[in-house]
């Protein structure tokens, strides 16, 4: 038996699934080949560790935990479904309506504002007029 064949039979050897003849051939090879012997030992270690992990049992309440999680999720989903009119339609409509109103009011208020710079000025000449010296118009109209 060569190393390649010996390595190939490693799994079957460890799990005891080799025929008597093959098992003896493998053991004879292992007696003489240090590489294969070391490799078999390491694989045996890995096997023990993996078998131990495989034997670990899950939490006995796992099924209950899973079902509780799903029921909770379903309940949340149902609550969400009961108020779709508000959650899915009314809420966005209200938000966009108030946004549009805010923009409209903003534009309207903005357009009514007139800065003082554009207000019609009183002609400068008028300030030189002496009101006291003006003849009363009433005086002539009563004639």
């Amino acid at each position: 038996m060569n190393c390649q064949l010996c390595q190939k039979e490693s799994d079957a050897y460890h799990s005891g699934n080799l025929s008597e003849g093959l098992r003896m051939q493998v053991e004879m090879h292992l007696e003489h080949c240090r590489d294969c012997s070391e490799s078999f030992q390491l694989w045996a270690i890995a096997d023990v560790v993996m078998e131990a992990e495989k034997a670990v049992k899950s939490n006995p309440f796992l099924v209950t935990r899973i079902m509780a999680g799903i029921e909770e999720m379903e309940h949340e989903g149902a609550t969400r479904l009961r108020i779709p009119a508000y959650q899915k339609v009314l809420k966005p409509i209200l938000i966009s309506a108030s946004l549009a109103a805010a923009i409209f009011i903003g534009v309207f208020v903005g357009s009514t504002y007139l800065p003082t710079g554009t207000v019609q000025r009183i002609p400068v000449e008028l300030s030189y007029m002496n009101d006291a010296a003006l003849e009363s118009v009433d005086l002539y109209s009563q004639l």
């Binding site: 694989w43 131990a52 796992l62 899973i66």
Partner: protein
């Protein structure tokens, strides 16, 4: 009752039927998670997440593959995703190690001399070697070896789950074993020196 019949009833609103599926598949999902994560609590949590995720996507199951194949695929993907996420956060992992989060590691090893602390140390060390060696494998090799060693699936079954050929699975397992031996050998030599 077949899986397909149960799924039909669940989709018609009979939520309680899902319990049957969980009971039927929880041990294989948990074992597969254990093969990837090597930690009981993490495997418990991931199993729970997987069953909730499976429930949420149940309507997408069209029955083209068997339900067991489907749930194996979900489990493998979820486990690999979890490992990718945790490898992206090595700082948190180191913190966990420092603060002794060796949670759920109390396995019952077939130790002949369990009272001997030296034997226990050797066991813990070997456990760590194997975990490191498995974690160093490329994802496909790791998946093939977990499905083969932890779930005792045949190469044909693994090929269906991994959507590849039996020959490819055989090659993956051979390469995985060779890599594991090499890695274990390196780790044991490092220990000797």
């Amino acid at each position: 009752m077949t899986d397909q019949e149960i799924i039909g009833q669940i989709l018609q609103g009979d939520l309680n039927r899902y319990k049957l599926l969980v009971e039927r598949y929880q041990s294989i999902v948990f074992r597969t998670c254990m093969g990837f994560l090597h930690n009981k609590e993490d495997a418990d949590d991931l199993t729970q997440d997987i069953f909730i995720q499976t429930y949420q996507t149940l309507s997408a199951y069209k029955g083209e593959a068997s339900f067991s194949t489907w749930i194996y695929r979900i489990t493998v993907n979820a486990s690999l995703n979890k490992l990718r996420k945790s490898s992206k956060n090595p700082f948190l992992q180191r913190l966990e190690n420092v603060f002794g989060s060796e949670k759920g590691k109390e396995y019952n090893f077939p130790v002949s001399d369990a009272e001997n602390p030296e034997t226990l140390i050797i066991q813990a060390e070997r456990n760590e070697w194997v975990e490191k060696a498995l974690n160093s494998l490329p994802e496909k090799q790791r998946t093939a070896i977990v499905l083969s060693k932890y779930d005792d699936l045949s190469q044909r079954e693994i090929a269906v789950i991994m959507e590849t050929t039996e020959g490819a699975v055989e090659a993956l397992i051979q390469r995985a074993k060779a890599n594991l031996r090499e890695k274990l050998s390196a780790l044991s030599k490092k220990k000797k020196n």
